[in-house]
Structures are given as structure tokens and as C-alpha cells.
Symmetry: none
Subunit: 225 residues, 2 copies
């Protein structure tokens, strides 16, 4: 689950993004509207958290620009209590929800989850591949009828593979999905991560496996459909 968090107040940004990260999200944090546009173009975020009152570009215009290119990305707007018109404008412009500043991080997290749970959203779906099932809401995995004990990375990786079941994922794609751009790993990190995931799945006799395409990427086999 990768989020873009647009907030000009650096300290607030630091704190909040740390909390989001510790809740299992991958977070890219930017401080200007321009950076936000840039980032939103470069990656497919699962949701974008946007603070209104940015210094350079009017916040709402960021929202509009991004929505034009990617209409399906859910937005959550953060706004001051008294800026009621802004809120309305935000919802008109296609924001999916908003939180009123000052807000609790837990509230923000709840809203993000709620937005992701909506129809077409990323959460609340049951992913299936062979005898593997991944409950994206609870973040639990079953292989056959045994629960799988996966670490955070392993689960994120499996989540990614199952969402793109049967399709080929290059290392770059995987890297972008799992790591924020302030934490670039060596290419090997992904190899090791997939190795660990494969091992756990194998040990549980999973009937779907991750295959390698030399020089191209990986894919999760898909004999159902």
C-alpha cells in the first residue's frame, strides 16, 4: 500500500508519515505542490493525502490536475477547521474524504483505510491463487487451511503478486511498489525477499508458486481464473 503525502509543514509531515509507515503503509512525503504533481505522475499511488494551503500551487489545483490524469486515485484532504468552503470545493473537485486539522493520526489512518475499502479500492478484497488466500482487510494469509506467518515485507510482496496474478512484474515495478523513494534498496534485496516468501509458501505446500523469467521479472502462476 503506497501513499503520497503532501504536506508543507515539515515537522508535521515527519511525524505523520512515520506513523503511517509503522501502520504498514509505504509513504512518499513531499512538501510542495510541484513535487506532488511530479510524484503522482511517476507512480501509481493507492491513495493521496493532500494538505490544503500549500505554498506554491493552490492545493485544489493539484487535486484537479492529478484527477484528470488518474481519475481513480482516492484523495484525502486535510484542511483547517474554519475553511468550510474549501472542503466543499474539495469534495466537488473529486476528493473522497477529508480530515479537519488538527487531526489525530489514528483518525487519518482510519480514513485512509476506509477510502481504500470502498468498491474498487485496494482493501477489503479477498485475493486467491491456488490454495493461497489473502485477506487484504485483515492482512492475513491462509495456505490451504493453515495460517501463514508472514512478515510485513513478505506480505506486501505476496499482496503485490496476487493482485497482478499471472502478470509479469519487473524488479523495478516491485521496487516501486514496496519501497518509498527515500529508501532505495539494492536489487538483491528483492531477490532475497522473494526467496524468503517462496520458502514459506513452499513449506506450507502452496499450490501456486512464484516463477522467474530471467532478465525480465517474476510472476505468480495462475491455473485458476
Amino acid at each position: 500500500m503506497r501513499l503520497l503525502y503532501v504536506e508543507d509543514n515539515e515537522r508535521l509531515a515527519q511525524n505523520t508519515s512515520a506513523s503511517l509507515k509503522s501502520n504498514g503503509f509505504t509513504v512518499d512525503c513531499v512538501h510542495t505542490g510541484e513535487d506532488a504533481l511530479h510524484a503522482a505522475q511517476s507512480f501509481d499511488y493507492d491513495a493521496i493525502i493532500l494538505d490544503l494551503g500549500l505554498p506554491d500551487v493552490e492545493g485544489i489545483s493539484v487535486l484537479k490536475s492529478v484527477k484528470e490524469a488518474k481519475p481513480d486515485v482516492p484523495f484525502i484532504i486535510c484542511t483547517a477547521r474554519d475553511a468550510l468552503e474549501d472542503r466543499i470545493a474539495g469534495l466537488d473537485a473529486g476528493s473522497d474524504d477529508y480530515v479537519v486539522k488538527p487531526f489525530h493520526v489514528s483518525e487519518l489512518i482510519a480514513r485512509v483505510r476506509a477510502v481504500l475499502r470502498r468498491p474498487g479500492g485496494a482493501l477489503g478484497v479477498m485475493l486467491v491463487a491456488g490454495n493461497i488466500t489473502l485477506n487484504t482487510a485483515e492482512r492475513t494469509v491462509m495456505v490451504g487451511d493453515e495460517p501463514a506467518r508472514l512478515s510485513r515485507r513478505e506480505l506486501d510482496l505476496l499482496d503485490l503478486f496476487m493482485r497482478r496474478k499471472g502478470r509479469i512484474l519487473s524488479k523495478d515495478v516491485i521496487e516501486n511498489a514496496l519501497y518509498g523513494f527515500d529508501e532505495p534498496p539494492t536489487p538483491n534485496a528483492i531477490e532475497v525477499a522473494t526467496h524468503r516468501l517462496r520458502k514459506k509458501l513452499q513449506d506450507l505446500n502452496a499450490t501456486a508458486a512464484i516463477h522467474t523469467l530471467r532478465g525480465i521479472g517474476y510472476f505468480l502462476e495462475d491455473h485458476d481464473t
Copy 2:
């Protein structure tokens, strides 16, 4: 047990919420209809206490809005003695009970407990996990046939775990369930609380234990069902 208390008179609010807290409830106190709507959206309260005669939004409309989104949240309305029609209107709109102002705090508490004890309510249930039984009405815990002496926090925590037996609870979920939003603890507080609870359960040879999932949360093991 987390309550939302909507009352515009600040002094009264202060006193009453203090009493509620000292009776084992976690209380969020707000003074306007807007805040009430906001809070009710953000968290799952076990019950909402609503004073009619709020300054900004008509009280009943708060009730209606919340009930629309969350039909199961019980409401208790506080109203002046002479506002009989309001009472009727309140009950029509889906309030579950009311108290007449001025009221004794003990009466309010009794009503809250009564509402929570109703079918589908939070109280009056017997929770079981292994040889642990929690009487939610009396707030007592037995392990095997030994009574467990738990503090308020420990009991609330165990209550939470037993209601969500087998499911994973992140620290945030726990924090939201146990702490009002004007008393945010450090993450460590929850670690310490679970540690204390675990120790007591262990000392009493409980057959169900709380397990840790690193970076994800905790869960109460569940071999019955």
C-alpha cells in the same frame, strides 16, 4: 467501553465526563454538533450521550445523521423536563433512552449500562477464551475457577482481545479502543499494558494467551470457536 458525550455546557460536561471516566468508561467529550458528527464518524463508540439544545446544529439532526451511517450505535438523550415533545421526537428518531435534566450522574451511568446490556449491546455478554471467562456485566474475570484481580486497564484490554478473539489488533486499534483522544499515550504504554495483562494471565495458568506479530499487532489465541 468508549463513549461519546455531547454537551455544550462545559462545566457540566467536565463533571459528568469525569464521573463516567471514574466508572470505567473511556469518554470523548465534545461541545458542538459538528464536533459530534466528526467524532462519531471517526470512531466506533459503544454509546453516544447527546444533550439536546446544542448551539450550532439541532440535536436531533445529529442523531439522525449518525444513525444513518451507524444504525447500531445506541443513543441516550439528555433533555430538560419540560421538553416532552423533544423526547418523543428523540425516541422516534432512534434514541434508545433518555434522561431528564437535571439528572444524577449515577442515573446516567445506570442508563448507559442498561442500554449496553441490551441484546446486541456491549455489556451483559459472557466472553470465553480457553479457561478465561469475562463477565462483561459485572466486569469480573475468572481463570479456571480462580477469580483474576485485574486493574481497569487490564480488564479493558482483555475485554477488547476477547471480543475480537483470534483477530489481529494493531496498536492503533487498541489505542483507539482504550484511550480517549485527549489522552494519547506513547506506543510503549500499550506494550506495558499487555505485558502486565499477560503476566497476570500466565500466573493464573490461563490456557489462552496473547501473541505478538512483530510490526503488525497482537491477537488472542483461539483454539475453541
